[in-house]
């Protein structure tokens, strides 16, 4: 059994939103809102999610590029293994509590690779000096020794020692990412955080860089936190995956299990959006509509319920799932007065005669993927009533009619973690009651 190198516990990063003359705090963007995970020694954990889900913020909070709002980041590298919690509940290896000297030491234990090769190097510093800067900062004043080390390292990442004096603009994107790897490695860290290291590269070069990362990881026993929005890249390099949505981890587990047996609907949707390089496979699967909601005001309950294709129907209701999703979308749109009956009318009018009210009703239903009659008579009545109200122009009452009748448990309760298999957890209400997650094991 290997040791845990990094434990993140309930990490939060909120950005205050200030307004007005006195910079009053009026709210907070909850970019990262309580995530927990562990990384074992030599392991690669993938962190996957759409843009805006907070994965990059999570990375910069873990590496202490930004001060986290709350939570613990326990780093057991640099020979600090085996420390136990102090009696007052704090942990001696908690990065958020490190003093300056300990922080310098932490910098030697954890490094990072960035996404954009074109901006990750100072254009006015030769790449050798850019890599050597880290050695210098950490007290190696011998220039010749620095040069020897960096030249050796450049060769290890597939460049030549002569490249030491060259400048970033003389390298291609793939080569720059190799140099970025060298820079991350030069202090001999235990952990490397890679923030979308290949998403700016061509596919052919992606494969090269990923295999280099794999080789180096094996050779030096590195642990990796690998951040990406691309599930297929995650599959190539990671041992375990954490799927993030709107600041929370919705599912975490071994990579093969996540790919073959995803438990959270969001994971399913992410997986089905990977373009399969099989021309016979049809464009299809689950379409994730819309974008990630704002982290300033995240949806109540399960944060994914506004886009979820498996959103739960209340007890006693059993209608077509697409209809249900459509009804919820319709309710939400009417609620914020975004169903424009005039626009619908115009759309139909474009194809011929003045539309009748029933045509408008049918069009709205089609727009929201709701079938002509909803299976449940009561719901159907509510829907018809709301549609009538809408056409009459009373969207406010239509909204209240709908929101009274259409509710989902997903919006009311926050899901707990459910354990599906050892190390495979997800947070979805559909799994509630199957097996309650154990409380976090004593993390030390």
């Amino acid at each position: 059994m290997t040791d845990t190198l990094l434990s993140v516990r309930d990490l939060k990063k909120h950005y205050p939103i200030r307004k007005g003359l006195f910079n009053r705090k009026v709210g907070a963007a909850r970019a990262v809102d309580g995530i927990s995970f562990d990384i074992e020694e030599g392991e690669t954990l993938g962190l996957v999610g759409e843009s805006g889900c907070g994965k990059s913020t999570a990375a910069s909070s873990v590496i202490h590029l930004e001060e986290p709002t709350a939570g613990e980041v326990i780093f057991n590298g640099n020979g600090r293994q085996g420390a136990t919690r102090d009696p007052d509940g704090t942990h001696p290896n908690d990065v958020t509590e490190f003093d300056d000297d300990e922080m310098m030491e932490f910098r030697r234990g954890a490094q990072m690779i960035f996404q954009d090769p074109s901006s990750s190097f100072d254009p006015r510093v030769s790449v050798g000096n850019a890599v050597g800067e880290l050695l210098k900062v950490h007290g190696m004043s011998d220039r010749h020794r620095r040069r020897a080390i960096v030249e050796d390292l450049l060769e290890r990442v597939g460049l030549s020692a002569n490249d030491f004096d060259r400048y970033p603009h003389e390298f291609s994107g793939g080569q720059k990412q190799r140099i970025a790897l060298a820079r991350a490695l030069v202090l001999n860290p235990d952990l490397i955080i890679a923030d979308e290291p290949v998403s700016a590269l061509d596919v052919s070069i992606q494969a090269e860089i990923l295999s280099l990362i794999n080789d180096l990881q094996e050779e030096f026993g590195l642990s990796l936190l690998f951040i990406s929005h691309d599930m297929s890249v995650i599959r190539q390099v990671c041992d375990r995956v954490a799927v993030m949505y709107l600041g929370e981890i919705v599912e975490i587990g071994p990579v093969e299990e996540i790919f073959t047996d995803p438990q959270h609907p969001y994971t399913e949707a992410l997986l089905s959006s990977i373009p399969t390089p099989d021309p016979r496979a049809s464009v299809g699967g689950i379409e994730l509509k819309g974008t990630v909601p704002s982290p300033t005001n995240p949806p109540s309950g399960c944060r994914f319920h506004t886009r979820c294709h498996k959103v739960i129907q209340p007890e006693g209701l059993d209608i077509d799932q697409d209809d249900w999703r459509g009804l919820l979308n319709f309710r939400d749109k009417v609620g914020i007065d975004e169903v424009d009956v005039e626009q619908v009318r115009e759309n139909i009018a474009g194809s011929g005669t003045e539309p009748t009210d029933s045509e408008v009703r049918a069009e709205i239903r089609r727009e929201f993927d709701i079938s002509e009659t909803v299976d449940d008579p009561e719901l159907e009545r509510t829907l018809s009533e709301a549609l009538d109200l809408l056409i009459e122009g009373d969207s406010e009452r239509a909204g209240s009619v709908l929101s009274d009748a259409i509710t989902t448990p997903c919006a009311e309760r926050e899901p707990e973690q459910t354990v599906h298999a050892p190390g495979h957890e997800s947070a979805c209400l559909r799994h509630e009651g199957q097996a309650a997650a154990e409380p976090n094991p004593a993390d030390d």
């Binding site: 590029l65 990072m112 960035f114 100072d122 210098k136 007290g139 390292l153 400048y167 202090l187």
Partner: protein, 394 residues
């Protein structure tokens, strides 16, 4: 103890290394300190211990006198040498790249040549040439290859043919009313122009860069106050201020430089601030912070060099403004008439324009080309000093 093994990154024992290396001075800073120190001592000695009429180097038997402006000029030259010229030599690869980019712009290369002549002339000229002497007898000599009616000059130094006085190589650009050699005066004017260029640039750059980066990094209220202060600086009527000071203290060249550059750094500071803010968003700054570098090290090592190289253009374009301002003030007669600047020469010749146009034309043309050269240079530097833009377009 560096053995073979320790030249590998994973064999470094960090606990062995002391932290002292973090505060290493670069060779440039050492050089600057070693050269600026004697200069400062000399400056202090010159102003405090020798009388205003005594030459600075009297104690070793030389007659050269240095005034505070000269000390400051030499100081800026040292700065330029240690922090501009030497780094170019130290990074030959980057220098070659800059040169390759710069070379594309032909007019700029010619401009650089011209400014080189002005620079060397201004530096060496006064050392090897005697100051222009008043010789009323040979006033209004025409430039070489030209001639004037022989009644214009009191006595003609060259040949007089058919009632016309021809210019000679003795006074290649002719002489003024008082018989001062125009060429010599132009060379002496080069010194003045170079002093204006170097000293104003140094003052503007120093204040602008420190104010700009400080404001960007302090943020919040401090940033707000500092930027409002810049607004005041920018909207200040510098010319009126100068007139006021002129009435109270008299108009020296030093006063001109100080007043005008103290009110000219506003734009630079603002530019540096926004540039610093955008640079600090770059990933290489994050990488540097993660390496453990302190905020000072990040600013000194990455933010300032990147921001500064982008204001070189702006500074180069500021210089012509100062040179023109000086010339205009001199022409209006508000300058220090003891200073042999081009503007003073033009001003001195304006009443003789109808019959001795060379007195105005010669310095006027030199001034014109110098200003043009600075403008060309600024444009070319903008293109050459931006490796990122180049890399992206490829």
């Amino acid at each position: 103890m560096a053995t073979e093994e320790s030249e590998r990154f994973d064999k470094v024992d960090w606990n062995d290394l002391s932290r002292s290396g973090r505060f290493d001075l670069s060779i440039n800073s050492i050089g600057m300190l070693l050269t600026a120190l004697p200069l400062t001592l000399l400056g202090v000695y010159s102003t405090a211990f020798t009388g205003p009429r005594t030459a600075t180097f009297e104690f070793i038997g030389l007659e050269q006198n240095l005034e505070s402006l000269d000390f400051f000029f030499i100081f800026t030259l040292l700065l330029a040498f240690w922090y501009l010229a030497l780094p170019l030599y130290q990074n030959p690869r980057m220098t070659r790249y800059y040169w390759k980019e710069f070379k594309r712009n032909r007019p700029a290369v010619v401009s650089l040549g011209w400014l080189g002549i002005v620079f060397v002339g201004g530096l060496v000229g006064p050392l090897i040439m005697d100051p222009p002497q008043q010789q009323l007898l040979i006033g209004y000599q025409p430039p070489v290859f030209t001639s004037v009616v022989d009644t214009t000059p009191a006595t003609c130094v060259g040949d007089v043919v058919n009632g016309r006085c021809f210019g000679t190589w003795q006074h290649p650009l002719g002489t003024t009313q008082g018989g001062k050699d125009v060429f010599t005066m132009i060379v002496y004017g080069m010194t003045i122009s170079m002093q204006i260029a170097f000293i104003t640039t140094t003052i503007v750059a120093t204040i602008g860069i420190s104010f700009g980066t400080l404001s960007a990094y302090a943020g919040g209220w401090i940033d707000e106050i500092m930027m409002r202060f810049v607004d005041i600086i920018l909207s200040f009527p510098t010319f009126l201020m100068f007139l006021l000071i002129l009435y109270i203290y008299g108009a020296g060249l030093g006063m001109f430089i100080v007043v005008f550059s103290l009110f000219a750094w506003g734009g630079t500071a603002r530019y540096i601030r926004s540039k610093s803010l955008s640079i600090s968003e770059e990933e290489f700054i994050k990488a540097s912070r993660i390496s453990g570098a302190s905020t000072y090290q990040v600013i000194r090592g990455h933010v300032v060099p990147n921001a500064a190289s982008s204001i070189i253009t702006q500074l180069t374009l500021l210089i012509p403004g100062f040179l023109l301002a000086e010339a205009q003030l001199a022409f209006l007669g508000i300058g220090d008439s003891a200073v042999p600047s081009w503007g003073q020469l033009i001003s001195a010749g304006r009443s003789d324009l109808s019959f001795a146009p060379w007195i105005v034309l010669a310095p006027g043309i030199v001034l014109f080309f110098t200003i043009l050269a600075f403008n060309f240079l600024g444009d070319a530097l903008l293109d050459a000093l931006n490796p990122e833009a180049e890399a992206e377009s490829e």
